[in-house]
Amino acid sequence: MTAGTLPRGRRRGRSHGWRRSLARHGASWLGLAAVLGAWQLTAIALDKTVFPTFSRSISVVGQLLTGSVLTGDIVPSVIRALTGFCISAVLGVLVGLTLGYVRWLGEYCSAFINFLRSVPSPLLIPLAIAFLGLGAKMVIAVIVSAAVWPVIINAFDAARRIEPLYLDVARICGLRGFALFRRVLLPATLPDIFAGLRIALSISLAVLVVAEILGASTGIGYFIQNAEQTFAVPQTYAGVIILACLGWLFDTVFLVLERRLLAWERGLSGGLRV
């Protein structure tokens, strides 16, 4: 038996790929730099108070990050967003997988769920305020009400489309109940669920901002709104920049985690990632 492995998942020609991807990355950072440069120049040219230069905004960002704003606003916001996200994740996965796996239940609930998720989530904010007053609890509730949907939908889809052969093999090996869930259902649907989670993460951040604008007295959203209303222009821009960076940070960390957990999936799909 001398047959060796035919490595399918390995990349060939490592040295070439490395250089090419470096070039591609370089080009894209150049693109970003070009946009920022354009910002700087237009700002200088227009010379309007409502359009500060990029450099000015960045310096304010530096001020904010080292000041009390960090702990007073940024950290609470991050905590709220992540809490809302985690709750949505757990809830979404449980509900979605159950509805997808138990056919009749899914069919029964699908019309209702379809309606619920069509409600534009910001519309629920006054509702949440009426229920929970102002503050963190309200914000988290609104986040969950918005971020849970992509998770449910993706989990539902994935559970529906699970490879029937996996289920057959599981039955043959005698896997039932919770063992079936943990060892077959969950891993098989995890890639799709992660795609939904990624969307949920960005929704969490977006809804966080609006919820805070309308109903909180601390937090990034509140900060940005406050700055806008007091015409503290550079601060407004700075706040938005911080938010953008947070969004980017969350997304990147998430992708890294995903790559770790789903290392096996890349081999299957050939690493098709957007």
Partner: protein
């Protein structure tokens, strides 16, 4: 659905929950009926802003997406920008937009357009990159020139993915429109619900929310119907629950 309405009536009827917070179905209907002109005009305002913003975003998104997708260096150059803009909550830009462009329809539609642009642009760009090269080869073999190729191969091949992007934008645009209305406090469905909340008219508030839900749901259905009509060769399946 009927089950839900039934449950709702029972719960509120039994007095288990204070009717201040969760109104009865009857109260909601009464609230809607009582202010139906307001409700309708708010709906109209929201739809107007939404449609304008979405139209601009779709045209810009598809055009730029095609251009960028067809050119290798433009694609690489925009990579980081796309990765940065993707997770950026456009809702965070609301105060910024107010600052820069004041209040008014122009500002709202502008922001909606900006937010809705990205999903369409990203999807178009991605779709162009993913075109099966053999399709292009077949097109060239039949003698299609640059324009012919774009019109008869690129666009139909990328249409489904673009459609998915537009679908996301449809929902996103509504969310942004309503958010701006809520923050600014006037006009549209957002303004309606906010006013109802502030004056404690919970029936009206819920009515607004329900209308919002119906709106979102109806827009989605319309979109799917349009997609099916325009792309009969493709099974445009809604995400499972759809």
């Amino acid at each position: 659905m009927g089950v839900v309405i039934g449950l709702w009536t029972v719960i509120t009827g039994s007095g288990a929950v204070s009717t201040d917070n969760i109104p009865t179905v009857a109260a909601v209907v009464r609230g809607a009926a009582g202010s139906w002109q307001d409700l309708l005009s708010s709906l109209g305002a929201t739809l107007e802003t939404w449609a304008l913003g979405l139209a601009i975003a779709t045209v810009a998104g598809v055009t730029l997406g095609l251009l960028v997708g067809l050119s290798q260096w433009a694609d690489s150059a925009t990579d980081v920008i796309v990765r940065m803009m993707r997770p950026l909550p456009s809702l965070a830009l609301i105060p910024l937009a107010i600052l820069v462009a004041g209040l008014g329809v122009k500002m709202t539609s502008g922001l909606v357009a900006f937010a809705a642009f990205w999903p369409v642009f990203i999807n178009t760009r991605y779709a162009v990159r993913q075109i099966e090269p053999r399709l292009l080869d077949s097109g060239r073999a039949v003698g299609l020139g640059r324009w012919g190729l774009i019109r008869r191969v690129v666009i139909p091949a990328t249409a489904p993915t673009i459609a998915t992007g537009v679908r996301i934008s449809v929902g996103l645009a509504i969310v942004v429109t309503v958010s701006v209305e809520l923050v600014v406090g006037t006009g549209g469905l957002g303004g309606y619900v906010l006013a109802a909340e502030q004056s404690g008219a919970t029936g009206q508030m819920y009515a607004g929310v329900v209308v919002g839900g119906i709106l979102g749901w109806a827009l989605n259905l319309l979109f799917l119907a349009a997609a099916r009509a325009l792309m009969p060769w493709q099974a445009v399946v809604g995400r499972g629950l759809g």
